[in-house]
Amino acid sequence: MPEAFLILILFQLLGSALQMVLHLPVPGPVIGMFLLAAALLWKRSRTRTDGPKASSFDTPALSSLSRTLIACLGLLFVPAGVGLVTQMPVLLANGLPIAVALFGSTLLGLMVTAFVMHRATHDRPSPERIPDTGGQVL
């Protein structure tokens, strides 16, 4: 587990360093995510050709740590989210346009993205379908 956490931190560090040096518009952790995905794929393509050799960082520990972190991703937004209280006066002063624009624009964005994606992929096999649970999640 310490090695797995080290991998995540190192790739975040690498991403942040690249962002700083190259003045990229994308945040460090997001660059780190793409780099780690690329590194994992490269490692996997090599182990497939070299036979079943245990790779140095593509471990079950990394998978399980990633699952754990992603499972509580929502919690991690709470500290920043509470910052809404500092913006309450401005939000309430422009209440109606803000509420309507947030709802409308978010819904339109969701529907257009999903609809185009759905239309453009829909004749291909899509094995992973959401079981219809009647509006239930998790």
């Binding site: 975040q12 803000i98 309507v100």
Partner: protein, 247 residues
């Protein structure tokens, strides 16, 4: 000598544990309220609208109000939780690598959906605010709200919006998308995790992506892509759109 040591201990006992106690207190409150929110959501038949992030934000905000604690003090106490967002974002690389075949296979569809979703999100945000009589500044702050917060703040600073307001819109938009997005998309007959994940990542950034990511690894992969790519695309198209939009 003994009295000096006694005085020192008194000072220690009086002052040193205090910031530590505060940190522990607010960390406990945040974790407890979020855990309660998750239980409540499960109790309510796992309804998406019973979003535990919103629940936790509301209760912690109430707690700050009651105890008259400034937000800065609270954030200082729980910044370790906020810090974990970085490693958690990097961790999205694992589901992304795991579903790379699906990703490469739907690359053309993804590009189309990404462009359509980004433009819709930016333009509808600006237009709706202006139509309903909102100020120019609010409209500009609304433009990049669907993007992951650091990028959104960079864009809003560049075009003359208010960074703190954009951060608030990003969080509220994410909560809205997490609460009603999935139900609405399923009503439209969209049941594919790729579409759900990508839409959450593009229109709802982090909080909506979190909701999809914890349900399905393929959804997590496409949400991660949506967040990363939408950041890039929006950073490019917002200045372009503002150039063409009058006023």
């Amino acid at each position: 000598m003994q009295s000096l040591s006694h005085t020192l201990h008194q000072i220690y006992a009086r002052f040193l544990p205090e910031p530590n106690m505060e940190t522990l207190f607010w960390l406990s409150v945040t974790l407890a309220v979020f855990a309660l929110g998750v239980r409540l959501q499960i109790r309510l038949g796992r309804a998406p609208w019973a979003n535990p992030v919103l629940f936790a934000i509301a209760f912690v905000a109430l707690g700050l109000l009651v105890t008259e604690t400034p937000y800065a003090t609270y954030f200082e106490s729980v910044k370790i939780i906020n810090f974990l967002l970085g490693p958690a974002t990097v961790a999205l690389a694992i589901p992304l690598a795991d579903s790379i075949r699906l990703v490469t296979r739907s690359l053309p569809a993804m590009t189309l959906a990404l462009l359509a979703g980004s433009v819709t999100s930016v333009v509808s945000g600006i237009v709706l605010v202006l139509l309903l009589g909102g100020s120019h500044e609010v409209a500009l702050s609304m433009a990049p709200k669907a993007v992951t917060t650091p990028i959104a703040i960079a864009i809003t600073t560049q075009i003359g919006g208010i960074p703190a307001l954009t951060a608030a819109f990003a969080i509220l938009g994410g909560i809205i998308a997490a609460m009603i997005g999935e139900t609405i998309l399923r009503r439209l007959g969209i049941t594919d995790w790729r579409a759900h994940g990508l839409a959450a990542g593009i229109a709802g950034s982090g909080i909506a992506a979190a909701q999809v990511a914890q349900r399905d690894p393929v959804g997590a992969a496409f949400a991660a892509l949506g967040i990363g790519l939408n950041g890039l695309v929006t950073a490019i198209i917002v200045p372009l759109i503002l150039y063409f939009l009058p006023g």
